[in-house]
Amino acid sequence: MTTVPQTRAIATPARDSLRTPLLFLGMGVLLVLTGFLMGANYALLVVNMGLVSAIMALGVNLQWGFAGLFNIGVMGFLALGGLAAVLIAMPPVTEAWAAGGLRILLGLLLGAATVVLLVLLRMRMAPSRRRMAVMIAVGIAGFVLFRRVIDPGIVAVEAVTPAATGYLGGLGLPVLLAWPAGGLLAAGAAWLIGKTALGLRSDYLAIATLGIAEIILAVLKNEDWLARGVKNVIGIPRPVPREIDLQRSPDFVEQAARFGLNAVDASKIWVNLLYMLLILAVLGLVLLLSQLALKSPWGRMVRAIRDNEVAAEAMGKDVTARHLQIFVLGSAVIGIAGAIMVTLDGQLTPGSYQPLRYTFLIWVMVIVGGSGNNWGAILGGLLIWWLWVIVAPLGQLVFGSLATMMPEGSFMAQRLADAGEQMRLLTMGVVLLLVLRFSPRGLIPER
């Protein structure tokens, strides 16, 4: 019998078990090649961000690949993780706290109290017109009170040297603490969202989560007292030494010289390696925990729920609770990745969170890698991120040389030369289509 396409193939176990290591080996080769062509440090940078992407992909994979939750609000949870980095690591702005910090806190408490009261009312009172009226009245009163208390505080805080601070600042704790904190923050938000929106299915859930992500970002962009809004927070402390300090340290320079490296290269490589270790530790932990969970009755239950919610419910599985649990866990993982990303960048720029980059690209990673398979998600994260950055120089190379092949000064030559950078997206698209063509269920399909 001749060859059969992969979709239909019930691949032999031997080939199956080899496939994953081979693909990872291939990925490694690609990265090493990149290192040779573009410099070791460039490759390290790409790997680091690729690993962060892999963590994001793991989070999405947990939600979609294993539980079938179509969350395209990834961007929002990433941003929350990033916010945690600011709230934890930036030094507090004492003038701002003095100006109106407590007022804002009080306002927030009042707001939260209103919500809690509303929920209690809803639970305690029987459904009726009266309940509706009471709830609306409480809601409006709460909102007005909330604004009355918080607004002057906000104005005062934002007036404190707006060009440099104009916000409350953070806790001034070590930035590494922001990573779990980012997870917690995202998890908390996910819990609230899940409580309301998880009743929705497929694309409806998708658009709801997207909407919530947009709302989270609107708050981040416009509430300057929180994290400076679109004015960005820059200079977030780093968990690793700064290159420039290393370059100035004689010890380090001496060490570097022993390896035959100059101080600049050595410092960059050292810093990136440190980052890599930290990220790998997180990635490893997340991977280990989710693999253990998935290879257990819990994982079986989750897959059963994904396959057929109705039947799972009839078999005594609490579908809503499981969905909520997974949504929260997945979002927490995404939040951690968000905090790591902001730490790597050293800045929080709410204006830069765009769905294309921070939601859909992550989805591409999961699907190309193979949804429902953690190794696939990791491979997808590495590969797609690699492509995302490499196609820019690549596209320029291809189109630049195409342009030179055209007759000098012709319309096409001009267009091609102009289009060089534009073609990054096109190249990305073509590669994506090719990968999915030859491996429609992803590179490392589920079992």
């Binding site: 059969v4 239909r8 019930i10 299915r201 994904r306 057929n308 919610e309 109705v310």
Partner: protein
């Protein structure tokens, strides 16, 4: 993913075999061998002969079984669950690639025709599962059955409604909202609308109440009398064999017994092992 309404969930689209991607498993050339059964059936109107086939690269489900039906006659396939009855039906209808064997209609070899082409040749099929269009209304379901017909379909539709009066009542309702038995009636009705020359039914009476089942069998006899060939799989085997001209017992993808319906009913071993005593 599963939607809110369990009844709406059987959108097709899961059975990969049906569309036969071009690069499906190529057939080995069919060389007549000594193991093939005697050619007594070769001249029947519809023949699936010495069929061997399975899903994807999996093991063979059909192991050389032969099914045949004469023009205007009723052939019934019975057998235990998983014997390959539905698979045999699919193979005859071209929804599964045969590894060996052939299918002939009216003397013509149709082994390599696609299901669509077989529909054009006058074959109609009611699959065992996912056999309705859930979001189309009952009436639209029936219309779709007559999709290829150019003539006036209102008379046939009237006949279907007479056969299954409940469908007339529900004709404006999406078929996905019907009860299990009602859906089965829609499925059979859809096939009747085709006015085929061969009608293939995979367990048409599953889930249908006794009174409707009797009506249905009556109607099948009538249809056969108009010269239409009928091939069906049944688990309500005793009733089915009673009206069958020809019966096949399939076990593990091979013919275990065959004969007229009466013969099989009379055979104590068949009764005990396959017809529930």
């Amino acid at each position: 993913m599963i939607s809110e309404d369990p009844l709406r969930d059987d959108r097709g689209n899961r059975d990969l075999s049906i569309t036969r991607p071009r690069d499906a498993i190529p057939m080995d050339p069919i060389v007549p061998t000594a193991t093939q059964p005697a050619t007594s059936v070769v001249n029947a109107f519809l023949v699936g002969e010495a069929m061997v086939g399975g899903y994807g690269r999996g093991p063979s489900i059909l192991n050389g079984c032969t099914i045949a039906a004469e023009k205007g006659q009723i052939a019934v396939i019975v057998g235990p669950n998983g014997a390959g009855k539905s698979t045999a039906m699919k193979a005859i209808f071209g929804m599964l690639d045969l590894r060996q064997g052939s299918v002939r209609l009216n003397g013509e070899d149709i082994t390599r025709l696609s299901p669509q082409d077989r529909v054009a040749k006058g074959m109609a099929f009611v699959p065992q599962t996912r056999n309705i269009f859930p979001s189309l209304t009952v009436q639209e379901n029936l219309e779709m059955g007559a999709f290829l017909r150019k003539d006036d379909i209102s008379r046939t539709m009237e006949q279907v409604y007479e056969l299954f009066p409940i469908l007339r009542e529900k004709r404006r309702q999406p078929a996905g909202e019907l009860s299990g038995g009602q859906r089965q009636q829609v499925a059979v009705g859809r096939a009747l609308m085709t006015q085929p020359s061969v009608l293939m039914l995979d367990e048409p009476t599953a889930g249908v109440s006794p009174i409707v089942m009797d009506e249905l069998f009556d109607r099948i006899i009538e249809i056969a009398r108009t010269g239409i060939t009928i091939l069906m799989v049944e688990q309500n085997a005793r009733q089915a064999l009673e009206i069958a001209d020809k019966g096949y017992v399939l076990v593990q993808g091979a013919n275990a017994f065959s004969g007229t319906g009466k013969d099989l009913l009379a055979d104590p071993q068949v009764r005990k092992s396959f017809l529930g005593g």
